[in-house]
């Protein structure tokens, strides 16, 4: 099999890819609730401070036996959560600073302990805690083709890291499935959640336990930095794409899977273009996560930069068009039959005015002849409704908001473009001009 310029080699690629996808999926799902509750950096703190737990477990048991290390790391992760709470409450320290203190000191302890451990001739590498060791998950006796794989062989060959990650994903899915409603209420309204009978504090700790669990399960394979990326990036990306939590959770799962596989492929494929060796896969996945996020920031159909820019431009143009129609209407009120384009351009960009006139003419709102602009009947109706809104607003601002009559024009000039109508008023505005009737 080949993906682009890269050969997919079962022996080399199957388990790293599986580990990456599983880690991304589990962390990505949990991340939704971290991002919503502004706890993103708790993931950062936990993934830094599991280091001493790992090393202590290692020093105590003198083996890389995973269960002990797993327990050590989980305990350290939970200790982080409790310590951060304690420093925040007892020390009245702001939460960012509290996390910073706890995780940096614990991480320093971990680094120191690693050196102490290696003094005893034990090899523990701090680097692999950061970068992960996806590349070591090789399936030595893999057949050449996927179709030749016997299920029994595959199951026997699955590395323990991948099994752990699989269990983690199942636990996370079960937790989200069972407690989705509770998590949602606790995320948006902790007080309501508590009054409805499930304590928001307990949900908080349950979530934190799971985050610690997911972090520990993931980072042996993919490294702590990728864990942070996966906890935060897919959920953030999904949050830019939708306003519904359920959709966001599904989207984040899809994005997480896409991130892991895309990042893995890119790690070999992109350097391959120039004939270079492959780069670190976990790092490449984080970069890929950032890339997807950047795309969402720019192109999201809901909150994207492009869409917002377009929306703003459309609004700005509509405002200019309406303002011009209103100007023409006012001119016709004082009996002049048409207005010169040059007059209309005063105080506005000529380019915008010309564009607005073109659109208005196409719509049949105005007629342009010999450099003079005249409202058509249709244009007059539109302008009349606008002027009516403007003068009603002026009346409202003077009568209800108590503004002096010479201060309300500017505000009314903005409000007239809104859909909402001010309450009905009298026949004349504060300046003594007639308020046109409805229709």
């Amino acid at each position: 099999m080949s993906v682009g310029p890269v050969e997919f080699d079962l022996a080399r690629d199957l388990f790293p890819l599986a580990a990456g996808v599983l880690a991304a999926l589990g962390c990505g799902l949990l991340g939704n609730f971290l991002v919503l509750r502004r706890l993103s950096l708790m993931g950062d703190a936990i993934s830094h401070s599991v280091l001493p737990g790992l090393v202590i477990a290692f020093l105590v048991t003198s083996s890389r036996g995973s269960l002990a290390m797993f327990i050590g790391a989980t305990v350290a992760g939970l200790a982080t959560v409790v310590l951060v709470e304690a420093v925040k409450r007892l020390g009245r320290v702001e939460s960012g600073a509290a996390m910073g203190v706890v995780f940096s000191v614990l991480f320093a302890l971990g680094v120191l302990l690693i050196e102490v451990a290696s003094a005893r001739g034990v090899d523990l590498d701090a680097d692999c805690v950061l970068h992960g060791q996806l590349e070591t998950l090789v399936w030595f006796s893999a057949p050449d083709h996927l179709s030749d794989v016997a299920l029994g062989d595959l199951l026997r060959a699955v590395p323990q890291e991948v099994t752990t990650l699989g269990i983690m994903v199942v636990v996370v899915l079960a937790f989200l499935g069972l407690f989705f409603k509770e998590l949602r209420i606790a995320a948006f309204d902790p007080a309501l959640s508590t009054t409805q009978g499930f304590h928001a504090g307990i949900m908080h700790y349950a979530l934190m336990v799971l985050v610690a669990f997911a972090t520990v399960a993931s980072f042996e394979a993919v490294g702590s930095i990728l864990v942070i990326a996966m906890l935060i990036c897919p959920a953030s990306t999904a949050r830019l794409l939708t306003d519904r939590l359920r959709t966001q959770v599904w989207l984040s799962a899809a994005i997480a899977v896409l991130t892991a596989s895309g990042g893995y492929i890119a790690a070999a494929a992109v350097p391959g273009i120039w004939g270079k060796e492959e780069v670190n896969a976990a790092g490449s996945m984080s970069v890929f996560a950032g890339l997807l996020l950047a795309i969402a920031v720019v192109f999201s159909s809901r909150h994207g930069v492009v869409v917002r820019r377009l929306r703003q431009r459309r609004l700005a143009r509509a405002v200019v068009r309406e303002d011009l129609l209103a100007t023409l209407y006012r001119a016709s009120e004082s009996g002049r039959p048409g207005t010169a384009i040059t007059t209309l351009s005063e105080g506005r960009a000529p380019r915008l005015v010309r564009a607005a006139m073109r659109v208005s003419e196409r719509r049949g709102d105005v007629r342009v002849a010999d450099g003079r602009v005249v409202l058509t009947d249709r244009g007059r109706r539109v302008a009349k409704a606008l002027i009516r809104r403007h003068r009603l607003w002026e009346h409202y601002l003077v009568d209800e908001a108590g503004l002096p009559p010479d201060h309300v024009h500017g505000t009314a000039e903005l409000l007239e473009h809104l859909e909402t109508l001010p309450p009905e008023g009298p026949q004349v505005d504060p300046h003594g001009r007639e308020i046109p009737g409805d229709g």
Partner: protein, 445 residues
């Protein structure tokens, strides 16, 4: 754990420790210790402002974002005809991507609806991931001389050359001097940025200057402390100093002191015990300063707070006992009565014993074999409490519209916080209304 530490430092004599601490060591070690001390002082000062401006974790994003810059500078330095192993070149690369990272955080905050924590986490992990990618690329494709780059992650003070230390010292002292020069501006922005803006100060420029100081200190500390732990130098000392004082100048001085001491002790210990990485030891030293501050600082410390609460609880409890005695008209409180009072208020036997000791210690009562006997002080306090109780009860009924049956429990809570001024005021008010006052002859203090 102490055992492992002891075994790591087994061969060091007391003489060597003193020699190192007094800087009577080799030239290089002396330089490194002096350099990290200066770094600690500078980051203590800069970090204090960063903490007050709630930018503590922004520095975390910044320092992680330096990694790709280091690797890219190494990769591209030869293109510009520079030596790729030169520390200055690498640090320039680090500065560029670090600043880029901070700008990205701000762009995410401005362009999207994501919160600051998510923005920081995104930048931190994505930039660090890019750094890991770049490093792995360098190591595979341009392996010559790239071995030292990894050292920037965890720091390697011991292998620093005199020239590197000089660079670090220059950067750190630059940040230190600039922060002191801009002390007033930083203070203003930290405490009331909207006032500063209204008053015509260039707030964004001051913020930018503050961030520049943070960048300087971070970049200066990269080689000695490593990019993951350098944030600790900016975060931990000011948070520790915060426990001791409410005054800004003292906070900054203490923070500099904690930072400097951590840098000094950390580098010295690491010089003595070759196994101990300087960055980690420096941060742990700062961590100890933090732990001690949080527990034992006089007014904001945990122990002081617990003692304060305990004292208040004891005062309230002993008031209950004295009031009960006064209301019963007895001078002697039998052991049995004491137990009844304890049961009424839900005290443990231990707490009841402490209350008894407290009453005796405050010379309110003397202890006898089967109870306590009230002294004049205790009798007076009992009368006073009982009278306050009655005053409040009537106040609540007549002013706060609380049903008489609901009065008593709230009375128990408030009578202990009643100031004497308030009592006189109440007394007057009630007298004006012609309410009957319980006798308080000679008790008003």
């Amino acid at each position: 754990m102490l055992g492992t530490l002891a075994s790591a430092g087994g061969g060091v004599t007391v003489g060597e420790i003193v020699e190192t601490l007094l800087l009577r060591t080799g030239f290089n070690t002396r330089m490194v210790i002096a350099g990290t001390t200066l770094l600690g002082i500078a980051s203590g000062v800069v970090g204090a402002f960063a903490m007050l401006r709630k930018r503590s974790l922004m520095t975390d994003a910044l320092s992680h974002a330096t990694l790709p810059g280091i690797a890219l500078a190494f990769l591209f330095a030869p293109v510009f005809g520079l030596a790729s192993r030169s520390l200055a070149v690498l640090l320039i690369g680090a500065t560029v991507t670090g600043v880029l990272g901070v700008l990205c955080v701000q762009a995410i905050l401005r362009l999207t609806r994501l919160q600051e924590d998510a923005a920081i986490g995104i930048v931190l992990s994505v930039f660090f991931g890019a750094g890991v990618v770049a490093l792995s690329y360098v190591q595979v494709n341009a392996p010559s001389g790239s071995a030292g780059l990894n050292a920037f992650i965890f720091g390697q003070a011991a292998t620093m050359q005199a020239r590197d230390v000089m660079l670090m010292a220059v950067l750190a002292s630059g940040a230190l001097i600039a922060s002191i020069a801009l002390f007033k501006e930083f203070t203003l922005v930290c405490f009331n940025d909207s006032f500063a803006r209204v008053d015509g100060w260039p707030v964004s420029a001051i913020d930018l200057a503050m961030m520049a100081m943070v960048v300087l200190v971070t970049v200066a500390g990269l080689q000695a402390v490593g990019l993951i732990l350098v944030v600790a130098l900016l975060i931990v000392p000011p948070v520790a100093a915060r426990f001791w004082t409410e005054r800004l100048w003292l906070l900054v001085v203490l923070s500099a002191l904690f930072g400097g001491a951590s840098g000094y002790l950390g580098a010295a210990i690491s010089a003595l015990l070759p196994r101990m990485p300087a960055g980690a030891v420096i941060v742990l030293t700062a961590g100890v300063a933090f732990g001690v501050s949080m527990l034992f600082a006089p007014s904001r410390g945990v122990v002081a707070g617990a003692l304060r609460r305990l004292r208040l609880r004891l005062r309230i409890a002993s008031d209950h006992v004295l009031e009960a005695a006064h209301d019963a008209g007895a001078d002697r409180i039998e052991r049995v009565t004491m137990r009844e009072i304890a049961d009424l208020h839900g005290w443990s036997a231990w707490f009841a014993w402490v209350v008894r000791r407290w009453l005796i210690g405050a010379r309110m009562a003397t202890g006898t074999r089967d109870g306590i006997v009230l002294q004049e002080r205790g009798r007076r306090r009992g009368r006073q409490v009982s009278r306050n109780h009655a005053l409040w009860e009537q106040y609540l009924v007549s002013y706060a519209d609380i049903a008489p049956s609901h009065v008593d429990w709230s009375v128990d809570l408030v009578e202990h916080v009643l100031s004497e001024e308030l009592i006189r005021d109440l007394e007057k008010k009630l007298a004006q209304r012609g309410e009957a006052l319980p006798s308080g002859s000679g008790v008003t203090a």
